[in-house]
């Protein structure tokens, strides 16, 4: 398999009972990238990350992390991958110091100086019980635990979802700092798109258990355009470009397209769009450019 892929999946699928949480997922996350894994709740983000760290077994297909199977070769994968689960589970009765001791005991490459330094900079007292820390502080401790393991790949499942805006900002700043200092590959899932652009260089959009898009954020923003014009059928545009979302009012049609080269068409007014808008379009909902809410293809029939 490709040496440059930190995470590689081939037709990966996971079924719980009769429901597929993830299906036909084929993707490569390049080493050294910081990838935002976005999608609505229930899109399969958590499942994908849990498959990557070996917490669950695939029902179909395969997943390869740093060139190995996380489930069958846990011995060699686990020490190289840091993982922070969505609810960042920590032993609540442990003190901060004991939590670090756990890290020291369970990880061969544990960097104690780094962990202590990081906790010190966060201003967390070592004797404090985990259960007495705020949600943001707990998330920071969990991140410290994952980082002091000195991983090559860091998987973060909704690390900021439970945090207030200030804690969210602090957490992402800390993450950016780490990323700028090291060669770390990061995959970060979120259902909030704001802020991600600041931290991530790649984006992976999951919806309804399937991959919708994997690309560099720069390219994504550069290649997507919002077209507005008089009400018309988008077929002509769709022949050249990929129409992600179309919405219609009585007199106007709005298209969000992934442009295949430049859009030459005088019928349309062409606007740039921001990442959030693009993501929302891929997820199948969101507002149009003028702010009026629209459902995808809702107006076509009417």
């Amino acid at each position: 398999m490709n040496d440059l892929a930190a995470v590689q999946t081939r037709e990966l699928g996971k079924r719980y009972g009769s429901k597929w949480a993830l299906r036909d997922c084929t993707l490569d996350i390049p080493a050294g990238s910081v990838t935002a894994l976005v999608g609505p709740n229930g899109a399969g983000k958590t499942t994908l990350l849990q498959l990557a760290i070996g917490l669950t077994k695939p029902t179909a297909g395969e997943v390869c992390v740093l060139g190995r199977s996380p489930r069958d070769e846990a011995d060699s994968v686990l020490p190289r991958v840091g993982f922070v689960a969505q609810d960042h589970p920590l032993h609540r009765r442990f003190s901060v110091a004991e939590t670090l001791k756990l890290g020291r005991n369970l990880n061969p490459a544990w960097d104690d100086d780094y962990a202590l330094d990081r906790i010190g900079r966060l201003g967390l007292p070592l004797k404090q019980k985990i259960g007495e820390l705020s949600g943001g502080q707990q998330a920071q401790v969990a991140l410290t635990l994952a980082l002091a393991k000195r991983p090559e790949l860091l998987l973060l499942d909704e690390p900021v979802a439970a945090l207030d805006p200030l804690a969210r900002r602090e957490f992402l700043n800390a993450l950016m700092e780490v990323v700028s200092e090291t060669e770390l590959t990061v995959v970060l899932s979120s259902h909030i798109v704001t802020d991600l652009e600041r931290v991530c260089d790649h984006i992976l959009i999951l919806s309804q258990g399937r991959t919708q898009l994997v690309a560099q954020i720069e390219d994504v923003v550069a290649s997507h355009r919002l077209l507005t014009g008089p009400r018309s059928d988008p077929d002509a545009v769709a022949r050249v470009h990929q129409v992600i979302r179309e919405s219609h009012t009585e007199r106007q049609t709005t298209l969000l397209v992934r442009a295949n080269g430049h859009v030459y068409d005088s019928c349309w007014q062409i606007h740039e769009v921001d990442l959030e808008e693009i993501v929302l379009a891929y997820l199948g909902y969101g507002g149009s450019a003028d702010g009026t809410p629209n459902r995808v293809r809702e107006a076509v029939a009417g």
């Binding site: 760290i53 920590l90 005991n105 369970l106």
Partner: protein, 316 residues
């Protein structure tokens, strides 16, 4: 992993140690009292093969004084179940709170994690049971000398069965807990399961583990040492061992006569004249203990293997 497992097992282990300490605080004073009474009353001379004539009184006094206490301590046989079930709680709590996912995403494999958790629980359970067994065995020494350790009231606090009981309760709570992922519920259900199984074993199974000895002897001879045996059935009989249903009227309905007593002659003249007994002699003690311990510990192993397999394969 050892430190992590111990840190998580610590609270429950210390609670059990505290329960034992409390029990020791209650039992040690009475134990000393009993031992000294045993010594002063000259009981030692009464548990030999040929007791002196006033031994009936001596034993009677001692028994009257301490029997209620002894009967109360019979309930302590439930303690191994409590110890075992409680010490399974840390494993189940990890699964209940999702903190197993923290451990599993460090550099340690599930196999080693399970070995550490289960091993620590087993170690703690065995140590606490050792302390309990030592305490109870010491406390009950006078009664063991009097009635033998195979006596049903003594048997389960002697020897090695208690380790089997504890391990079984531990395994049962683990097996229920890893599936159910509710620590308190798993502990309670496992304890009830333990209680039920103990009832079944004590009342029905144990006496059938090996064949008891059957013996018929003339009432005028001494007969086997039933005082230090576990008597399943003893009746006056004819010389072929057929039970004589009714105790001869003039001899009263009091218990079976002791050799040499006046009621024996009454028995002889009224037709029974023989004693028939089905019993486990003292020599069966270790055979019974070994088989019963193997049954409980073997089931415990299977339950723990199931718990480990389930956690390894099914848990995310």
């Amino acid at each position: 992993m050892t430190w992590v497992a111990w840190r998580l097992q610590r609270t429950e282990t210390l609670i059990m140690a505290a329960v034992l300490a409390l029990l020791a605080a209650l039992l040690i004073p009475t134990g000393i009292q009993m031992a000294s009474a045993y010594h002063h009353d000259g009981m030692a001379a009464c548990v030999v093969a040929n007791p002196s004539p006033n031994c009936g009184n001596v034993i009677g006094n001692f028994t009257a004084r301490f029997e209620p206490l002894r009967n109360a301590t019979v309930w302590l046989t439930l303690l191994p179940g409590l110890i075992g079930a409680s010490l399974a709680a840390p494993l189940v709590l990890d699964l209940e709170h999702g903190t197993h996912r923290l451990d599993w995403t460090q550099s340690i494999t599930r196999r080693r994690w399970l070995a550490g958790k289960i091993g620590m629980a087993v170690g703690a359970a065995l140590l606490v049971t050792l302390a309990l067994t030592l305490l109870l065995t010491w406390w009950r020494t006078p009664f063991v000398k009097l009635n033998g350790r195979i006596d049903p009231a003594e048997y389960d606090a002697q020897g090695i069965v208690a380790y089997g009981y504890t391990l079984f309760a531990l395994g049962l709570a683990m097996a229920i807990g890893v599936v159910w992922r509710r620590a308190v519920a798993a502990v309670v259900v496992a304890f009830l399961g333990y209680f039920g199984l103990r009832l079944f074993v004590d009342i029905w199974l144990r006496q059938r583990l090996i064949s008891p000895v059957t013996k018929t002897w003339s009432s005028s001879t001494r007969g086997p040492d039933l005082n230090h045996s576990w008597v399943l059935n003893q009746t006056p009989s004819d010389k072929f061992g057929n039970a004589v249903a009714v105790t001869p009227e003039p001899c009263g309905s009091a218990p079976v006569p002791k050799p040499g007593g006046p009621r024996l002659e009454c028995f002889s003249t009224h037709g029974a004249g023989y004693q028939h007994a089905v019993y486990h002699p003292a020599s069966h003690f270790w055979a019974l203990q070994s088989i019963e311990t193997a049954l409980f510990a073997g089931s415990a192993l299977l339950l723990m293997a199931f718990a480990a397999w389930w956690t390894h394969q099914r848990t995310a």
